[in-house]
Symmetry: C2
Subunit: 154 residues, 2 copies
Amino acid sequence: MRIGELAKLTGIEVETLRYYERVGLVQLPARQTNGYRAYGQDAIERANFIRHCRTLDMGLGDIKRLLDFTSKPDADCFDVNHLLDEHLARVRAKLKSLRTLEKQLARLRTQCDTGHRAADCGILQDLVAAAHGEACACHPSDGNASLSNRKAHE
Amino acid sequence: MRIGELAKLTGIEVETLRYYERVGLVQLPARQTNGYRAYGQDAIERANFIRHCRTLDMGLGDIKRLLDFTSKPDADCFDVNHLLDEHLARVRAKLKSLRTLEKQLARLRTQCDTGHRAADCGILQDLVAAAHGEACACHPSDGNASLSNRKAHE
DNA sequence: TTTAAACCCTATAGCGACTTCATGGTCAAG
DNA sequence: CTTGACCATGAAGTCGCTATAGGGTTTAAA
């Protein structure tokens, strides 16, 4: 099987498959005489495993660790639980901050329904007011809120 | 005012301010004879505007567009609404997929409570089963679900 | 007065997970 | 025999920073 077919079967793009190979997620496949990559059936399974974990938004490092586990049946799977717990915690934190954000944006959005000139735009006024430290529709009383949840994986 | 003071006043790190300058979000400040950046009061306001928009998770491109609006009082602010609507839509889409994800992960997490050997780990079994296309705890009946909500600005 | 800490500068590389680009080789159909 | 689909490599671009290297300047204490 060549790389295009594997891509079609798994829904992972060709360039992404090559990228996964480069970073060591996918083992080096055999090569045909012309240099084309030649995959076996096992590559489909491994690629699907990766894809499924990616739909669960796991990082490539985590996926690599899980793949290692699948080939070591006698290892202690405590780390699998732990990895999943951490991931779940990250997802929940992100979810929380996103819910707050949604409320803020929705409230901000209600500020401009009348004027059409930028000078009269309630949204812009609100954002400028925020720059002055005044209360605004999106951060009413406030103090702080989120920010800083940017580097947390993703 | 030097860059360090501006950083302290706005809560934006020095390196980040220089980065904003490099990408054109902050205008080039005057320079002292020793080459140090010299900011005026207006820089504080502009920087706070940026910071506030960033807490709302807006992209730098969007913020740039908003900043342009604040200096063009006669422009039609339709685009401001539009920009905010799009951003809100992105946030809501992300929120939706994250909620689904949370459920999937939580369910998956229940799969491993008994065994300690990787070979017996319900989580790994589940993930491998998914690679085979079978139903799994995280994607019960399935068909597909999300994926592809990765590039949407964040 | 010396010296050390704290500040400032530029340029460059790194992160994660890709995507895109440039450039060229291989192969099957018409 | 050429067109177009496929394959290859390597390098650069994306986003929003963050960090590092390797310097110069200012300030305050010893």
